[in-house]
Symmetry: C3
Subunit: 206 residues, 3 copies
């Protein structure tokens, strides 16, 4: 049984909004990666690393506040899952960019831009939804749409895998590219986990 006092903690909302804005910055960097030359990619990877560090700070602030608060605006486990999954998304996006630079991948296979567009759309929806956690209103459109996007990401990902294994690529190249598209798929799954956690929070309140 949780007790609720008025006023509730407010800064959780602000911190979640910050974390989601940061994820959106990351997804925009992924968009920039498409078609960037080798020098620009290195520079994008540096900016992505900075965004990931900013995300770490937001996560740390949320968890610190969670651990030191007697009262939280929603269940502790949901605060924890929301913060850590937003953090995971940043980690996956940073890893994707880093792998492209590290493996000196010349050309990303067709379909990756579709994966990244889906991630970017999910990031926009997530950044718009987080501030609405305060009123808990108009959130169902968000989680329904993110679930739909994750299904779309899944189809794109499997089509990409079939393409990678079709015989057009050398085995080593397949391994490199597969690691990139798999980590982008993990990011898409993590957006769905965030949306499902928001749904859980709203259902508990209603």
């Amino acid at each position: 049984m949780r007790f609720r006092l008025t006023p509730r903690e407010t800064s959780f909302y602000e911190l979640f909004a910050m974390a989601a804005d940061n994820v959106l910055s990351g997804s925009k960097l992924l968009m920039e990666l498409l078609g960037a030359d080798a020098a620009t990619r290195v520079e994008i990877a540096e900016r992505m690393r900075a965004a990931e560090h900013a995300g770490d700070d937001a996560t740390h602030a949320i968890l610190h506040q969670l651990n030191s608060s007697f009262i939280t605006p929603f269940d502790r486990e949901d605060v924890y899952r929301l913060a850590s999954t937003l953090d995971d998304i940043m980690d996956f996006m940073e890893e994707a960019v880093d792998l492209v630079v590290l493996y000196e991948i010349d050309e990303l296979p067709r379909g990756v831009e579709e994966q990244i567009e889906v991630l970017n759309r999910a990031a926009e929806l997530t950044a718009e939804a987080m501030p609405r956690l305060r009123t808990m209103e108009q959130l169902s459109e968000y989680w329904i749409e993110v679930n739909r996007l994750e299904n779309q990401a899944d189809r794109v990902h499997r089509k990409l895998l079939a393409h990678l294994f079709s015989g057009s690529y050398e085995a080593i190249e397949v391994m490199k590219l597969k690691q990139v598209v798999d980590v982008l798929e993990e990011a898409a799954d993590a957006f769905e986990t965030v949306a499902n956690t928001v749904e859980t929070i709203v259902v508990k309140e209603s």
Copy 2:
């Protein structure tokens, strides 16, 4: 501290039994996959997708009831873990079938039928055990046996990996087949997680 009122919620038990029956249907489809020709495999993949959707519905019903119930028959975290892990099993089984079709795998390596038989046996035991959650009786045989099956699955999986890497297969073929046997191993691990969660529930009650 949880409070318990009489009568407890009953439908959690029914929903878990439904989810486990559905997992059993999935494992039977895996059995059918062995030795099926290409056309039949496509048809099996469709039925598997339908089973996975039915599983999603059962999971959603459990989580919805969990989030809207003040009182639950066992700890919320255990209800959550049980529902989401049963859901994971269906996802892994569906993915395995889908990959076989997607990669147009001609022949599954010897040993896969052993993996699938172990999964099918674990599914039978799980489907039989779920209705016994109501009385909490005769469950230790179930979790001991599923733990034993997981160890067996682990040995079969490692033997399969050694076989795949033995030089009999092209690199690209190894990658495809490894993905299939890895996802089947993930399903076996998830059966063990379900069994461990049931053990946790029973120990807390005793």
Copy 3:
């Protein structure tokens, strides 16, 4: 709200210290693996399997006590996460050794010894920190240093991947070696999860 009685349960501390000592034994076996010949590797794998079984027993004892205790020295979810992540570390280390034997890997790529040294240092720090859970003192140095080690492990791991994909290895060989270095990286991540859980416990208490 947790109630606390005096004296608190003491054996959780002892059990965590045992589990961490066991992890340290495992990391020492990894150190022995470096430079061992084929026959010695088989013998190391056997000792590692015994260490993993001892770890399973410690985990089981912790979870059994957790499930049957009304009062725990820190939050149940933290006890659970600490125990299961220490268990994961042993599993990853055992898997790494087993894969080296199973795949009959002749020579581990340069960089693996660095991965293993980082793991061994993290294991030493973890084994030293666990007994301090009782007083909750002098733990911040531990988690800060393990986080630093995980960052170092991450850099070593990515450098290793770039090396594996550089063209010096056959595709099948890359796959085998990648699996070994990936599982060692998972062990490094798990040490960080343990450290973060300890931080969570301490912050809640302060």
